[in-house]
């Protein structure tokens, strides 16, 4: 027994059982007692069917769509940050965060859209909270998008710099995606043939990742510390093209191709963790380290480090803008919302398992160590060479990140086109908006302090979740139902995330203050090449202080308006 406990197997199995309880017991209770769903109550998909935004979609299709829309790097790389506290706190947060908060948000935000004529988050905030909070939400989302982009651009370029061959592998996927897009949408080729081609493209990309590493090694060696900056520029060019090209030519076929390695990767890792006792893969991480390691205090940092695997505000945007409008019957909300979120928890579990089997020295400060752990878990029972698995999981990481980042860049562009009007309309221009939506995050990413930016990302992402849950609570109060199941996590998430954002702002502000008073540039949050230029590093840290303050202030303002609306709803509902 002790041997089994020293492998990821039982822990992962225990988490799966907990998710089962969350789905079959807790979510069912909320579904039946709070929302009182009925298959006979017409949904907006039927009431307002226009064949474009509103149309009923079968639950399995919506489940797949919801899962793919919400799964990104958050659950894969979050555990890397969280494992600084040991694997047990990370595991507990993935289990209980998802069990009591994660699925609650995803499911409930689908339901508020379904019960409110298919309205998205913005109109719902306008209806239940007011005009001003909707504008604040807009400002908040602008900062949020910049932070997501900065983190993802940093990480993709890092993976290209750390794993030679991965860029060419990614390029192979991109080229095949463009061809597949053409085959699917122009020539209307057979879907099975195209799927086979997509799978072959992934295999070819892995082979290229293993065999053709020379050119990238040469570039990385020649550029040294500047290699990652070079890859950032290359990535920005790709993202620029993806953002301005029509969706069917680039983004959507890439999403199609990326589905296969993404699915395969998760399945391989979960099975690897479950069979670990049989193949001798053991836990090498400490169960618990300390409350206050270098990254910051366990409270609140742990709770924002693992974003999407436990709870994520991004999901509320997906649930309200698309899924809620296409729900066939109300009883589908649970398998789609709760089901997809709990599945994403499995993605986080699989990533955590990959870190659990590495020693602290192997993990070190290397975010890329996920690939090493994933390789160990997979090769132990599937065989194959380490080089092959390394190439596969490096590609797996990049593909997850780049498919989301292309969408985020495009979102920023379309967003800018909508909000910049009048004298500022030039900022909404297709090319200008894409350019600004890439230059600002690249500048942020160049600072190299991704660790700190990750906390900003997690903090703002989870604060959005807290705000969405608060909105859910307001609507439930208006329905004259008990709101505790949504209100308690809303309060917890709001306190935790605002504390985390204040903490991270303090980290930057402290560096700025020490630099100003002592001239010691080593306290600034920056890495080479930026850290070699103290003035530039100082300027970036000042910018990050401003970003942190903006996020905190906007978050506090939203909280104030939501709490006021909640109290008003309580009074009016008696």
């Amino acid at each position: 027994m002790a041997d089994i406990l020293n492998t990821p197997s039982l822990w992962v199995l225990g988490a799966l059982v907990a998710y089962g309880i969350a789905y079959f017991v807790y979510s069912k209770w909320v579904d039946e007692k709070i929302w009182e769903v009925s298959p006979d109550r017409p949904t907006p998909a039927h009431m307002y069917m226009d064949g474009v935004e509103f149309f009923p979609v079968s639950r399995s299709v919506l489940y797949g769509f919801q899962f793919k829309s919400v799964a990104a790097l958050g659950p894969i790389l979050g555990p890397f940050v969280a494992i600084s506290y040991g694997w047990l706190p990370a595991l507990l947060w993935i289990i209980f965060g998802n069990m009591f908060i994660g699925w609650v948000q995803d499911y409930s935000t689908i339901m508020i859209t379904v019960r409110n004529e298919g309205r998205s988050m913005g109109p719902l905030v306008y209806q239940y909270v007011g005009e001003k909070p909707r504008s604040i939400l807009l400002g908040y989302l602008l900062f949020y998008l910049l932070i997501i982009s900065a983190v993802f651009i940093y990480l993709i370029s890092l993976f290209w710099a750390v794993f030679p061959g991965t860029f060419l592998a990614t390029l192979t996927i991109i080229v095949f995606s463009v061809i597949i897009g053409h085959l699917l949408y122009r020539l209307q080729a057979n879907i099975y043939a195209v799927t086979l081609l997509a799978i072959l493209a992934v295999i070819l990309a892995v082979v290229i990742g293993v065999k053709v590493q020379g050119p990238e090694k040469a570039i990385n060696e020649r550029l040294g510390d500047n290699a990652q900056a070079f890859w950032m520029v290359v990535l920005a060019v790709i993202l620029f093209i993806a953002s301005i090209a029509p969706m069917p030519t680039f983004i959507t076929p890439m999403n199609f191709v990326s589905t296969f390695p993404a699915l395969a990767g998760v399945a391989i890792l979960i099975i690897g963790a479950l069979v670990s006792p049989a193949v001798g893969v053991t836990l090498k991480q400490p169960t618990y380290t300390e409350f206050w390691p270098k990254i910051g205090p366990l409270f609140p940092v742990l709770f924002v480090s693992i974003a999407c695997g436990a709870i994520s505000g991004w999901h509320s945007l997906v649930s309200t803008s698309t899924t809620g409008k296409q729900l066939d019957v109300e009883t589908d909300a649970r398998p789609v919302g709760a089901g997809a979120m709990l599945t994403e928890g499995m993605l986080a579990l699989s990533a955590l398992a990959a870190y659990m089997v590495l020693s602290p020295e192997e993990v070190g400060a290397k975010i890329s160590s996920f690939v090493l752990g994933a390789t160990r878990l997979s090769s132990s029972y599937l065989g194959g060479t380490a080089a092959m698995w390394k190439a596969f999981f490096a590609l797996f990481l990049v593909i997850y990140a780049i498919t989301v980042q292309t969408l985020v860049t495009r979102y920023w562009r379309v967003f800018s086109g909508e909000i910049f009007t009048g004298g500022l309309s030039f900022l909404g221009d297709k090319y200008v908006a894409t350019f600004t939506g890439l230059v600002i995050p690249v500048l942020f990413a160049l600072s190299g302090s991704w660790w700190n930016l990750w906390i900003y990302f997690g903090g703002s992402n989870q604060l959005l979740a807290g705000l969405a849950l608060m909105l859910v609570a307001i609507i439930i109060v208006r329905m004259k139902k008990p709101p505790t199941y949504a209100l308690a996590p809303a309060v917890f998430m709001t306190i935790v995330t605002i504390s985390a954002l204040i903490w991270e702002t303090y980290v930057y502000a402290h560096g700025v203050w020490v630099y100003l008073t002592t001239g010691d540039a080593s306290v600034l949050q920056a890495k080479p090449p930026l850290s070699e230029h103290p003035t530039a590093a100082f300027a970036m840290n000042v910018v990050f202080v401003i970003v942190g303050i903006a996020l905190v202030v906007l978050g506090l303002m939203m909280t104030y308006y939501l709490v006021t609306a909640l109290s008003k709803a309580r009074q009016e509902s008696g």
């Binding site: 079968s58 807009l138 969706m247 069917p248 983004i251 999403n255 589905t259 699915l263 803008s321 967003f415």
Partner: protein, 95 residues
């Protein structure tokens, strides 16, 4: 096999969907939604061009508008519904 179907049809075809539906949802549904939106914006433009003179925008001569009218009439209801629906920045996330 149609992947989108009304509730009544769904009851008749119980057991469909499953893994194929999930894979379809993961790989293609987002794209389908995006294409439908692209087509929607094109159709808005087309409707504005064909019905423009009736709305005060004389884009093409009424003679041609009248010739196209029978093809446009069936779409007027859903066009109105889409045009009048409230949209904001949080809707943009879906394409």
């Amino acid at each position: 096999m149609p992947l989108f179907r009304r509730k009544e049809e769904k009851e008749e075809k119980k057991g469909e969907g499953g893994l194929k539906g999930i894979l379809y949802g993961m790989a293609v549904h987002g794209s389908v939604t995006a294409f439908l939106r692209t087509r929607m914006y094109m159709e808005h433009l087309f409707m504005l061009m064909t019905l423009g003179d009736m709305l005060g925008f004389p884009i093409i001569p009424p003679y041609y508008s009248l010739k196209l009218l029978p093809y446009v009439v069936p779409n007027i209801k859903s066009w109105k519904m889409r045009m009048f629906r409230e949209r904001d920045f949080t809707d943009l996330i879906s394409g």
